[in-house]
Symmetry: C2
Subunit: 410 residues, 2 copies
């Protein structure tokens, strides 16, 4: 549970013996506890709560919601009954227990202000998540930098499942992190495609990251947590609701560079994700299907608007990768090599000077675990040190001062 960028990447769980002040790029214990508590009080996407949060900060907001001194009543824009609802929830929180429960399944709460926080979520404004509960080894921020969402119908056709799996595998092979919602149908096929290609995938849940929903995907969600990341706004053990599914979609849209919709009926949740992505200035893409298929009608509607038609992973990568913001890949690392943490540096050192190597050979050379190594390779990829080469990985060729290309992290 560490990441490439070495110093100051604390992810203090309650009870950690962290020094009194937080390190750089890390929020303090009190704030993390308050945010953990607030994820149980405020529903995802509660913009009124978001406005209080940015005005008062999480610690003061929690204090008011639990105080009996009349300060809660000063929170604007609420009926007494609605306020009672918040207070009822606030009175029952046990954030230390939640943080411990998530730590027990290898998780953590990533907060705005943490170095691991994906700052593109700030585009959501007052609807920004209070924090993200995260299971899995890789660094959320680095993975999100090179991620694409693949979403679509639960009741997809075999064609939709095939396209989702093929995009998942193809994007993973091109070094992209495949983000989806772990649902049946297109979501599951996209995750499985990425996993089958030995690639990176991230599931954004509408429930606690320790809850397997849908239950039929328990094994899949477990594998994603092992090899990738499982994240969500809801505290441990919390369950999905209809509105939580819908609001989960805005996180998928905001987190990724673009959203690909594979089969969607009119007015489906996947289209909601795509429209969120559009509003946020992300790329919106759709996979065409027969004009006679109701399951492609929503996608076609999208493609008649702003959406870009894509038929394979390379077309997706071409679109989302063709942007200056992806500078790490094109311009070389954003971090000097000596800022990498010890494990990342070992993995990087394990790559041969020339030509590709397989992840398991790199793991053997580095003396790191297979999943750990893969996670670090994707982080190093985000940072521009390495790239995919067929089945394996190689050092990124880098321009030297005299314009020649050299290999690897100097």
């Amino acid at each position: 549970m560490t990441g490439c960028a070495g110093p100051g990447r604390g992810r203090a769980a309650a009870g950690d013996e962290e020094p009194s002040g937080p390190g750089p790029g890390t929020v303090g214990d009190r704030e993390r506890l308050a945010r953990a508590a607030l994820t149980r009080v405020l529903e995802p996407g509660d913009e009124r709560g978001g406005r209080w949060l940015s005005r008062l900060g999480p610690v003061e907001l929690m204090r008011r919601l639990t105080a009996r001194d009349g300060s809660a009543e000063e929170l604007s824009g609420m009926t007494a009954r609605r306020l009672d609802g918040y207070r009822l929830r606030a009175g029952a929180v046990q954030p230390e227990r939640d943080l411990a429960a998530v730590a027990a399944v290898g998780g953590r709460l990533v907060c705005p202000g943490d170095r691991e926080w994906p700052s593109q979520l700030d585009d959501l404004g007052d609807a920004r998540p209070i924090g993200l509960w995260v299971r899995g080894r890789p660094d959320l921020r680095l993975w999100a930098l090179r991620s694409v969402a693949v979403v679509g119908a639960r009741a997809c056709t075999p064609y939709g499942a095939h396209m989702a799996a093929s995009l998942g595998a193809g994007l993973a092979e091109l070094g992209w992190v495949v983000v989806s919602g772990a649902a049946f149908g297109v979501d599951g096929a996209a995750h499985r495609g990425a996993l089958a290609a030995g690639g990176a995938t991230m599931a954004v849940l509408a429930c606690g990251v320790d809850v397997a929903y849908p239950p039929g995907h328990a094994e899949l969600i477990g594998r994603v947590a092992e090899q990738g990341l499982v994240i969500g706004e809801l505290p441990p053990s919390d369950h999905p609701t209809r509105s939580r599914f819908i609001l989960r979609n805005r996180v998928i849209a905001a987190l990724t560079r673009g959203t690909v919709v594979v089969e969607a009926e009119y007015r489906s949740g996947s289209l909601a994700t795509a429209r969120s992505a559009q509003r946020l200035g992300r790329f919106t893409m759709g996979v065409p299907g027969p004009a006679t298929s109701g399951l492609s009608a929503g996608v076609h509607e999208l493609l008649r608007g702003e959406g870009v038609l894509v038929t394979d992973a390379s077309e997706v990568a071409e679109l989302v990768g063709d942007i200056g913001e992806l500078a790490p890949v094109r311009r070389g690392p954003v971090l000097p090599r000596d800022l990498l943490d010890a494990v990342c540096a070992r993995v990087l050192d394990a790559l041969p000077a020339r030509g590709p190597a397989r992840a398991r050979d790199i793991a053997r050379t580095a003396g790191t675990g297979a999943d750990e190594t893969l996670g670090r390779l994707y982080e190093l990829h985000s940072l521009g040190f390495v790239e995919r080469d067929g089945d394996g990985w190689r050092l990124t060729p880098r321009p030297t001062s005299d314009g020649e290309l050299r290999r690897g992290g100097t």
Copy 2:
């Protein structure tokens, strides 16, 4: 073989006892004969020939190509051998016979300068057809004003054939003339769909309009000539070649308001038509299919560029109809009613003041033949007098001077 616009619509065939000077909107006998001859000398789309034609006019160009006075040698940009090729053809022409042969199958040669000439073909510049051989009753110019091309693969899938037929029928029902190339596959299905809906369709051939190519479509081409229009640049009895097919596509593109591609592989002729349409500023549309289908790959390539995704006829009509140039439909007739010829006026009079009527009932009231009536209804539609209403036709509601809507051609 007449049209709605009454006076001056002569289509003089050789041997007609036309008065010495042509009427307004009609080219003279000498020019028509010369253009008829030139369709046998110059290949379709010959831009060098087109430049000579606009510099010298058809009569002088034919004179030079058949003269032995050295004036042919002054035609610029030609080797002696190439000139011999032109001369050989020019020496063998029999334009009177060609005009008579086409007249014998109910046809005519429509030339630039004729009122029936579709002036949008002038967008082709030096590659503009020398003239168009036309079989069928309706007025080419009026039909072309409200026409859409539906083209695609010869070896289409059942899905492609279904979509082509459905677009053909749907566009015809919405009052559009369906233009295609009479080939197997998508073309044939589009024509048949329009015919089955009792609608208007036009075939643009890459051979003489009296040649049924492909032979397996002889009956279909015959039906199109009966109920609609069969047109082409090649003189009677001339046969198609590979380059003639390709050059035929530019006529389809230029003649219509837009081109819909239904199934096309990479680098197919249908894509060439679509690209011509794009260059000419026409609408370019494509029907999506499975991303796994090679027969949709060309369409998807188009849709990733300038092409607009369409899934049914109403989406096509919405796009191509949404333009000020279609003023006749939106602003009312372009011709005063008293300029209509007698048959058109009779058909118009046969429509009820309120509500729709079927074409066969209109024919009975007007005392005109069924095909003739249908042709005139489409002409009246182009002129803004009538519109489709379900299975039937009705008078177009028209704004009065005080802004109220009234029905029909006043």
